[in-house]
C-alpha cells in the first residue's frame, strides 16, 4: 500500500506537467476541446426539450424557449415500447457477454503473449483474419447456423459465443498489454515451480487491470448499442433491447426530431453512468508492475 502511494506521487513528478502555468494552459486547452466535443450533444439535448413546432421555427442553437418534458414522457411511458423492460434486457446483453468474453479473451491472449508454442505466429494471423471479412456476407450463414442450433429468439447467440474467447479484437488488445509486462516475475515464479495457470492467475491477470477495464467499457457500450444482433436474432418484442426500441421509434416518427433526440438521450444515460463508474478503475489502474 505504502509503495503504491509513493509511486503515485513520483509519477506526478516524473511523467507529467508540473508548473502552474502549464497546468492552467492545459486546462484551457482541455476545456476548449471539451466544448467543441460537446457541440453535437448540446444540440441533441436542446432538441430533445423542444416541441416540433419550435424545432421547425427556431435555430438549432437556441435553448428551448418552452422547455418540455413531453418527448421524454412519450418515450418512457409508451406501453408497447416498454422502455423499462427493454432496459433490463439491454443491461443483461451488455454485461454478461462482456464479462464472459473478457475473461476468456484473457485466457486465450496469455499464450499468444507469453508462451512459445507450436504454430503460434501463424495461429495469430489466423486469429486476426477473423476480423477481416465484412460481416455482411457471414450474416446469413451465421444466422442459419444459429437457427440449426435452435438458438434463434433467445440470448444464446450472444452469451454462448462470448465464452469462446470473445473475439479477435479483445484477444489482440489483451495480448498487446500482456506483452508489455516485464518477464522477470514470471521467470522467477517458473523457477520456483509455478505452473502457467498459476502465473496467469496470480501474476499476469492482476496486472491487466487497465486493459480489462478498457475492454469492459468498450464491450458494455458496444453491447448496449448493438442494433443488428438483437434485430436479427430475436423475434419476441419482450426480448428486444433499447437500441431496437429506439429504432422503431424512429421509424414511426421519422420527422419527429425532438422525440428521436429524447430517445437517444435516454439510451445514452445508462452508458454514461457505467462509463463514469468504470473510468475510475481503468484510470487508476491496478498497476503492480512497478511496485516491487
Amino acid at each position: 500500500m505504502l509503495s503504491r502511494n509513493r509511486s503515485y506521487e513520483e509519477r506526478a513528478r516524473a511523467g507529467r506537467v508540473e508548473t502552474r502555468v502549464a497546468k492552467a494552459l492545459l486546462w484551457v486547452v482541455l476545456t476548449f476541446g471539451a466544448v467543441s466535443f460537446l457541440v453535437p450533444l448540446y444540440i441533441m439535448l436542446c432538441l430533445s426539450f423542444k416541441t416540433n413546432a419550435e424545432i421547425g421555427n427556431t435555430s438549432m442553437w437556441s435553448l428551448p424557449l418552452h422547455a418540455t418534458l413531453a418527448n421524454y414522457r412519450t418515450v418512457l411511458t409508451d406501453h408497447d415500447l416498454n422502455f423499462i423492460g427493454k432496459f433490463f434486457n439491454t443491461f443483461f446483453l451488455a454485461s454478461v457477454p462482456t464479462l464472459a468474453s473478457i475473461l476468456t479473451a484473457a485466457l486465450v491472449a496469455y499464450p499468444f503473449a507469453r508462451l512459445q508454442f507450436l504454430g503460434r505466429d501463424k495461429l495469430f494471423v489466423l486469429l486476426l483474419s477473423t476480423m477481416m471479412l465484412p460481416g455482411v456476407v457471414t450474416m446469413i450463414p451465421g444466422y442459419v447456423m444459429y437457427a440449426k442450433l435452435g438458438w434463434i429468439n433467445s440470448y444464446k447467440p450472444f452469451v454462448i459465443p462470448a465464452f469462446f474467447g470473445g473475439g479477435a479484437f479483445s484477444i489482440f488488445m489483451i495480448r498487446q498489454f500482456m506483452m508489455a509486462i516485464p518477464r522477470e516475475m514470471d521467470e522467477a515464479a517458473k523457477i520456483d515451480g509455478a505452473t502457467n495457470a498459476v502465473i496467469f492467475w496470480r501474476l499476469i491477470l492482476p496486472n491487466c487491470g487497465p486493459v480489462l477495464a478498457t475492454l469492459g467499457v468498450l464491450g458494455f457500450v458496444g453491447g448496449f448499442k448493438d442494433l443488428m444482433g438483437p434485430l436479427l436474432m430475436l423475434n419476441d418484442p419482450n426480448l428486444m433491447t433499447l437500441e431496437v426500441g429506439l429504432r422503431s421509434l424512429q421509424q414511426a416518427h421519422k420527422t419527429d426530431f425532438g422525440l428521436l433526440m429524447a430517445g437517444s438521450m435516454i439510451v445514452l444515460f445508462p452508458i454514461f453512468v457505467i462509463f463514469a463508474l468504470g473510468q475510475k478503475y481503468f484510470t487508476r489502474g491496478i498497476t503492480l508492475t512497478g511496485g516491487k
Binding site: 497546468k23 453535437p40 421547425g56 471479412l133 498487446q176 434485430l231 414511426a252 512497478g290
Partner: protein, 791 residues
C-alpha cells in the same frame, strides 16, 4: 359426478388447446403503428378463438431479416410486402400463390373491389402473391395556398399538364410554368429564396417524369431483350429532370438546401420555402398536424403528349411464405387484416389508403376529419391518383442492374458533370453486355455442394497443414513441449469458438463462386464473379470503390490515431477535474450513431451549418481567416460555400472530421496503455537527467508502441470496412465518392440479392486487408517494443 365433470372439462380444454394454432406475422413497424397492430391482433383473436397471431415487429432491416429467416427455414408464416419489392420473393418461389385458396373469389376477399393497380402490382404470372392492404400513389402535389395567392396563380385543380418546355400561353394549366412562377430569386442571386417544387426524396422526381411520360426504355417488361435508353424521348425527359434542379433551380437540389434525410424537404415546405411538395398520401396526416399555413392537395399533372396518365406508386399487402406450416390459418388472418375490419382501422388512423376502393371512398374512414376542416375533394383526389399508379413488372435479373445504373446516371447528370445524352448513350453501350450476363446467371448449372463440402474440408486441412507442417521439422526440448501443451490448454475456448466464425467464412468463400439470391439454391458460376469484378468493362465499380475506401483509410487512420493518442496524453495529466474531462471527451462516442449522423448533417449544412458559419462568416464572404474562400477555391467552386456532403472532394474529409468526435474510443485504449507504464522508468529517466521531452520520446513512446501497433492493425481493418456514415448520410454518393467497399457489397447482397457477387467483393477486400496486415506484422519487428516480448 363432480370429478367426472372436471375431467370432462379438462378434456374439452385440452381438445380446444390442441386445435389452437399460432401463426407468426412479421411486419415492418414501430411506435404508433405497433399499437394499432396489437389492437387488431386482439380483435382478430377474439373472433377467431382457434388462431393466435404472434406479432413479430421488425423495426429495421426488414427484408434482410426475412431473407435470413427464409434461408434458415425459420421464416414467419406471413409477412408484409411492398409492391416494389415483392418480385424478389415471389419470382423466386418463396411465396404461396393465394389464388389456390378455395374462397379466393369470395366477397370477403373481394379482389374485384380493390384497386386494380395494386392487385396488378402484387400479381406475377397471373398469380396473386400478397393480398393488397394499401395503395399509395407517390405523386400527390401538396401546395401552400399563400404562396399561390402571392404569385397571383389560381389554386391547381388537377387539370394541368406538363411538358419539357415551358408553355407560358397555358398559364396555370402548365405545371412547369407554375413551377417557374413560384420560384423566386432576389435580384443578382442565382439561388432562389423560394422554390417552386420539392420532391420528398431525390430520385422521385425523375422516376415520376419517366413513368408519366410513358417513355419506353426497353421493348417488353416481362422479357426485356432490347434497350432503348438513348431514345431521344428518354434523353429529353432525363435532361429535363436534371435541368429543373441545376439550370432552372425550380427544385432545390442538394446544393441549394441542406442534404438531409428525407424529412428535410417536408420541413422546407412547411416553412414556406417551397411552394409545392411531391409526396405520397401518407403525408396528409402529418401535414394536418404540423403545417401551420393553409394548404391543399392536387393531382400530379398528366404529360401533355403521353397516352396513359401513369404515375409511380408504392403500397403493399401481406403474403404467405411457402414454408408456412399453417397456411390456412395465416390466410384467415390476412383476409381479416387486409379486409374490411383491418383496413378500416388503418385508414381511420390516417396511416395508409385502403386497397378496398369502397373504403377509400367512404367519408370518415379514409382521411377522417381530425379537428381541421378537410375538403371532401381529398377523397376524390386520392382515389383518382390510386387509379393512375403504374408498377412495372420486371424480371429480377433485369431490375437490379438497370435501375441501379439509371440512378447512377441520373446523379451523374445532376452533378452537372455529364449531359443526359452522354450518360444514356454510354449505358446503352454497356448495358446489353451486362444484361446478357445477368440473364445467363438466371439459368446456370446447380452448385456442386458435395464438391463444395470437399473444398471446405480441404481448406481447413490446408490451413492446419500451413500452420503445423513447418513446425514438425523443428526439434524441441522437453520443457518446450510442455510449454506448448499448456499453451494449448489456454487456447481451448478459442478453438471451440473458431468453428462458429470460420464456418460462415468458408461458406461465403464457396458462395463467391456462385450465383446466390439467398432464397433459391445457389448456382455454380466458377470464377465468373471475380472475372466480372476485375473487368472494368463489365463493372467498373471495384476500382472506384477500392480507391475511395483506401483514400478514406489513408486519411482517417493517421488522423484517428494521432487525435486519440494526443487526447490520451492530455487526459493522463494529473490536474483538477481530469475525470470529468475524460467522461466529456468520451461522451460523443457513446451516443447513438444514427442520432449523431442527423446532428452532423445539420452541422455540415451548407447554409445554416456551424462549420460553414465559421468558415464563411455571417455574410458568406469573411469568416475565420478567410479560410472558406481559400477552401472554396481549392475544391474548384470559387465564390460558393462548401456543400460538404454533396461534393465529391469534401465528403471524405467531412466523414473524417465526424470520425474524430469518436476518438474517445481510441483514447481509452491509449489511456489503458499509459496507465500500464511503470513509474520506475520515469524515476530512472529523471535521475539520469532527462527532461520532459526526452522522457516522452525515450520512455512513453516506446512503451506505447504496442498500442499504436494495435490501433494501426485494427484501424486498417476497421477503416477498410467503413460503412455507417456513408450508409446513413450519403448512401454511396455523391457520384460514388463514398461507395466504400462494404457499402457497395451491402447493396449487392441485400439490395440486389446478389450474394455470390457480394461474397466475391468481400473476399477481394479480405485479401487487401490481409496484405496490409501481413506487411504491418513484418514491419512491426522493427519498431514495436515489447517489454516482455518473446523472440
Amino acid at each position: 359426478m363432480r370429478l367426472l365433470g372436471v375431467i370432462a372439462g379438462l378434456v374439452v380444454v385440452g381438445l380446444c388447446r390442441a386445435e389452437t394454432v399460432t401463426i407468426r406475422f412479421a411486419a415492418a413497424s414501430g411506435g404508433d403503428n405497433l399499437k394499432l397492430l396489437n389492437k387488431q391482433v386482439a380483435e382478430f383473436e377474439a373472433t377467431h378463438p382457434n388462431i393466435r397471431v404472434k406479432l413479430e415487429p421488425i423495426s429495421d432491416n426488414y427484408e434482410n431479416k426475412l431473407l435470413a429467416e427464409y434461408a434458415a427455414n425459420v421464416a414467419p408464416d406471413c409477412a408484409g410486402f411492398s409492391a416494389n419489392r415483392i418480385v424478389n420473393f415471389a419470382s423466386r418461389g418463396a411465396l404461396l400463390p393465394l389464388n389456390d385458396f378455395p374462397d379466393y373469389g369470395s366477397p370477403e376477399v373481394d379482389i374485384k373491389g380493390r384497386y386494380q393497380t395494386i392487385v396488378d402490382a402484387l400479381t406475377l404470372d397471373g398469380k396473386l402473391y400478397a393480398l393488397p392492404r394499401d395503395v399509395a400513389c407517390t405523386a400527390i402535389i401538396y401546395f401552400n395556398k399563400r404562396l399561390f395567392r402571392e404569385a397571383g396563380i389560381p389554386y391547381p385543380d388537377g387539370s394541368w399538364t406538363w411538358h419539357t418546355k415551358v408553355r407560358p400561353e397555358l398559364r396555370e394549366k402548365d405545371f412547369v410554368w407554375t413551377m417557374q412562377q413560384l420560384t423566386r430569386k432576389k435580384p443578382g442571386s442565382t439561388v432562389p429564396y423560394q422554390f417552386g417544387l420539392a420532391a420528398a426524396w431525390p430520385q422521385l422526381w425523375m422516376e415520376t417524369l419517366l413513368v408519366s411520360s410513358n417513355v419506353r426504355m426497353w421493348d417488353s417488361d416481362a422479357n426485356p431483350t432490347k434497350l432503348m435508353l438513348d431514345d431521344p424521348k428518354v434523353v429529353d425527359v432525363f435532361q429535363f429532370a436534371a435541368d429543373c434542379f441545376n439550370v432552372h433551380h425550380w427544385l432545390p437540389s442538394n446544393n441549394d438546401v441542406s442534404l438531409g434525410s428525407g424529412s428535410t424537404m417536408q420541413d422546407e415546405f412547411r416553412k414556406g420555402r417551397v411552394a409545392m411538395l411531391q409526396s405520397g398520401a401518407w403525408e396528409i396526416k402529418d401535414m394536418r398536424l404540423k403545417m401551420s399555413e393553409d394548404w391543399d392537395i392536387a393531382a400530379f399533372p398528366r404529360n401533355a403528349h403521353a397516352e396513359a396518365p401513369y404515375l409511380p406508386g408504392e403500397g403493399g399487402g401481406v403474403g404467405i411464405f411457402k414454408t408456412s406450416s399453417h397456411p390456412k390459418e395465416a390466410w384467415e388472418w390476412i383476409k381479416w387484416y387486409c379486409g374490411v375490419p383491418g383496413s378500416t382501422a388503418i385508414a381511420q388512423a390516417g396511416e395508409t389508403q385502403p386497397s378496398i376502393r369502397a373504403l377509400a371512398l367512404k367519408p370518415g374512414v379514409w382521411l377522417p376529419n381530425v379537428g381541421v376542416h378537410i375538403p371532401p375533394e381529398h377523397l376524390a383526389i386520392t382515389d383518382a391518383l390510386a387509379l393512375r399508379v403504374y408498377n412495372r413488372h420486371l424480371p429480377n435479373w433485369f431490375s437490379g442492374s438497370v435501375f441501379n445504373d439509371l440512378g447512377g446516371a441520373y446523379y451523374g447528370v445532376l452533378s452537372g458533370e455529364k449531359s443526359a445524352r452522354e450518360v444514356l448513350a454510354q449505358l446503352q453501350r454497356d448495358e446489353p453486355g451486362k444484361l446478357k450476363l445477368a440473364k445467363r446467371r438466371a439459368d446456370g448449372p446447380p452448385y456442386p455442394f458435395v464438391n463444395g463440402l470437399l473444398v471446405a474440408i480441404s481448406i481447413v486441412l490446408a490451413l492446419i497443414a500451413w500452420v503445423y507442417v513447418p513446425e514438425l521439422k523443428k526439434k524441441r526440448t522437453r520443457t518446450e513441449r510442455a510449454e506448448s501443451r499448456s499453451a494449448y490448454l489456454f487456447l481451448i475456448p478459442w478453438f471451440c469458438g473458431i468453428s462458429l466464425t470460420i464456418g460462415p467464412m468458408i461458406y461465403s468463400l464457396l458462395l463467391s463462386f456462385a450465383d446466390s439470391d439467398i432464397i433459391q439454391t445457389p448456382q455454380w458460376r466458377g470464377l465468373g464473379n471475380y472475372v466480372d469484378l476485375l473487368n472494368p468493362r463489365v463493372d467498373d465499380t471495384l476500382w472506384i470503390s477500392l480507391r475511395q475506401t483506401l483514400i478514406f483509410a489513408g486519411v482517417s487512420i493517421p488522423a484517428g490515431i494521432a487525435s486519440a493518442l494526443g487526447l490520451a496524453l492530455l487526459l493522463n495529466q494529473k490536474i483538477k477535474g481530469i475525470p470529468i474531462f475524460r467522461i466529456l471527451y468520451y461522451l460523443p462516442s457513446l451516443a447513438s450513431a444514427v442520432s449523431m449522423s442527423l446532428i452532423w448533417m445539420r452541422l455540415f449544412d451548407k447554409d445554416q451549418g456551424l462549420i460553414n458559419a465559421v468558415l464563411y462568416g455571417a455574410d458568406g464572404k469573411s469568416g475565420f481567416l478567410h479560410l472558406g474562400l481559400i477552401l472554396s477555391n481549392l475544391i474548384g467552386t470559387p465564390g460558393q460555400a462548401i456543400n460538404w456532403f454533396g461534393n465529391t472532394k469534401t465528403v471524405i474529409p467531412a466523414f473524417v472530421i465526424m470520425g474524430l468526435w469518436g476518438a474517445g474510443g481510441g483514447t481509452i485504449i491509449f489511456l489503458g496503455g499509459l496507465q500500464g507504464i511503470s513509474t520506475t522508468y520515469y524515476e530512472a529517466a529523471t535521475l539520469d537527467g532527462a527532461g520532459p521531452v526526452r522522457r516522452f520520446w525515450k520512455v512513453t513512446m516506446p512503451l506505447l508502441t504496442p498500442y499504436i501497433f494495435f490501433s494501426l492493425i485494427t484501424g486498417v481493418i476497421g477503416a477498410l470496412q467503413v460503412f455507417g456514415q456513408s450508409f446513413v448520410i450519403t448512401a454511396g454518393g455523391p457520384d460514388r465518392a463514398t461507395l466504400f467497399a462494404v457499402v457497395w457489397l451491402y447493396d449487392q447482397a441485400f439490395g440486389q440479392l446478389r450474394m455470390g457477387y457480394a461474397s466475391a467483393i468481400a473476399w477481394i477486400l479480405f485479401v487487401v486487408i490481409m496484405a496490409f496486415t501481413v506487411v504491418q506484422l513484418a514491419l512491426a519487428k522493427r519498431w514495436v517494443f515489447y517489454e516482455g516480448g518473446l523472440k
